[in-house]
Symmetry: C2
Subunit: 144 residues, 2 copies
DNA sequence: CTCAATCCCAAGTGATCTTGTCGGGATTGA
DNA sequence: TCAATCCCGACAAGATCACTTGGGATTGAG
């Protein structure tokens, strides 16, 4: 799913393109794209030559956002949701394990926060003038 | 599930007791208990007054072990399993997201490693003579 | 010895989640 | 107008999770 992100970084792309490149069903990608759009991570242009585009530079998109958008609030367990309405679990009072989950959750959040989309874009050799696969239009892709 | 662990720390307990205390179905607890036993985390004594007991002191049992035993190798995604037979995902070659999952996995493992069963046992007031809530048994919980 | 309490174990069930599929719109550039 | 594209809701197969069923085997107490 997040494979989507990889493909961005270049211009706007239609779902059909992406579907072909990732060989995933187009209809499924649509679903994900809507969610990402609602989350403000991608922008869409409709009509004949429409498609999706990143809303921000890849370096500015933390994977935590993407994951939260796609999979909901990242809680390893109910009773450790991020918006602390944490009386979801009836056992809450006598359940000390909560502490564990919260810690795990924070660890995950931290790891996710530390990775941006840019980190996951495979380096398509920056164009000196060879132009092999993909131009890399604007200043993305600086770090590993 | 892991609630089991909480109840140990005292003497050996029969499943019926634990089931009553946690109000969970006894039969289900059995399943979990077997797994924990196979993993060497608890020992069992059969027969009339049998029951389960921790195999080690609570401070010596990392939650990572418990979780691994109960839920299998902790991989946030297939393609990031712990035993690095990591060509489970057909897309592996062109999939850079793997890096992300590995990082998340390590973060989780770290968090789990840093918490022992003792940290999750609600303090049944250790007999010194004052202490109400949290005696912190021995040098656990030093870091955040 | 007998019996009940307990652990041992495999297989099955039902709800929920994940991963998609389908079908039909709405919007836009050519 | 027409085709390409996004938009959206509802459905379905498969896996997974939490739990149940139905039997054993082992042991201490009477």
């Amino acid at each position: 799913m997040v494979q989507l992100g990889r493909h961005f970084g270049g211009g706007p792309a239609s779902l059909s393109e992406i579907a072909a490149a990732e060989d995933m069903p187009r209809a499924y990608l649509e679903q994900l794209a809507f969610v990402l759009r609602d989350a403000g991570l991608v922008t869409s242009t409709r009509g004949a030559h429409g498609g999706y585009e990143l809303a921000r530079a890849p370096e500015a998109i933390h994977m935590s956002e993407v994951l939260r958008a796609l999979e909901g609030p990242l809680a390893p367990m109910i009773c450790a949701t991020e918006d602390d309405a944490h009386d979801a679990c009836a056992r809450t009072s006598n359940c000390t394990v909560n502490l564990l989950w919260v810690r795990v959750r924070d660890a995950v959040a931290g790891a996710l926060e530390g990775v941006t989309l840019a980190d996951l874009v495979p380096q398509r050799v920056v164009p000196v003038h060879g132009r092999t696969t993909e131009p890399t239009p604007q200043g993305a892709l600086t770090n590993s």
